[in-house]
Amino acid sequence: MQAFDQIQELWQKHEVEVKFSADEMLQQAKKEVNGLKFKSALNIIGMAASFIAIAALWIFFHFDSWTTHVGISITIITIGVYTLILYRDYRLIVKTDFTAHPQEYLNNLKTYQLNRYKLYNSLYWFYMVALSTGIIFYFIEILSHFNLIQKIIAIGLTFLWILFCSTILRRAVIKREKERIALLIEKFERISGQISAPEKF
């Protein structure tokens, strides 16, 4: 039969070990935020690379038909505009240090979440329509050099790729990103609240 004093003694004898230091703790928290920044930056880099590749195509290859120039122009403008939109969102999450201005960071994170939602929904369809129009114009001249089978393969693969991006890939990206941002928001909301007032037991 144990008394409370013995239980207390047992508790105090049990040494707990904190596995990280103050620095590591802040670093760990920053790592989670940096994960989101990194993915966002990767998105921009990918878009910028596409922009450069298409611009290079325009500069280094000679095209005869005006339709090809229209097609490339539409594609390159679309990619450029979307890269800027992505950059604007990226700025939202990098301009505030969450350890210094938690409330501002949280507000920015919520705006970022809303912007991403628009980007993957209404804006995405504008992007898809613009890109498809650009590709159609581009194909008019390019496909004239191909035989029938090559034409079918090129159109078929392009169509399947667009379909894949608009359905399976888009849904997976939305789901993953939604979860990641929601988790961060949830965490920061918890962190921002309830500092001074104790909850009544």
Binding site: W11, V16, P198, K200
Partner: protein
């Protein structure tokens, strides 16, 4: 900023162990306790400038930790984990039963207490003065004494009951 860093490190070094013990007592899970410790000290870091020396800094940190613990498991994401708390503790027993069966049993008994009681008893076990616990929990000292007496009894009963099985 450097001064804030230095101050924060001092505060972390002198309080982190106790806060971790509180979180561990509350959840019975090392990972969850680490998460809670991190969240608590992030709040401390962010609000260090607002601390006005009206109370002891340790009391202020305990208050943040207690609120963090309560909110953590109540949030929707952690509900499932909350329900698993007992299971986690029971599983942990096997892990360190050979090393310290009695300590494992104690954590298991704490997990059987109500959420708020778990936090209060953890502070009592860590010998925090009653007036500080009252301040942290927002209960009058008179009521707290009655509550602590009841929790102590319950914990002792639970412990002896499980120890005799």
């Amino acid at each position: 900023m450097e001064q804030k860093d230095k101050l924060f490190k001092e505060i972390f070094d002198s309080n982190s162990k106790k806060i971790f013990h509180l979180c561990y007592g509350y959840t019975g899970d090392t990972d969850a306790a680490n998460d809670l410790l991190q969240e608590t000290f992030l709040k401390v870091w962010q609000n260090l400038d607002k601390f006005r020396n009206k109370s002891l800094i340790s009391t202020w940190i305990y208050r943040i930790a207690v609120n963090t613990c309560l909110t953590y498991l109540r949030s929707e994401k952690r509900q499932a984990k909350d329900e698993l708390t007992e299971n986690i503790i029971e599983n942990k027993i096997e892990e360190f039963s050979e090393k310290n069966e009695q300590v494992a049993l104690l954590y298991q008994c704490i997990s059987k207490l109500e959420e708020n009681d778990r936090l209060i008893i953890t502070m009592v076990l860590d010998e925090l003065p009653y007036h500080e616990i009252a301040d942290i929990s927002g209960i009058s000292e008179g009521n707290l004494r009655v509550k602590i007496h009841r929790i102590k009894q319950k914990l002792t009963e639970l412990y002896n009951q499980y120890a005799s099985v």
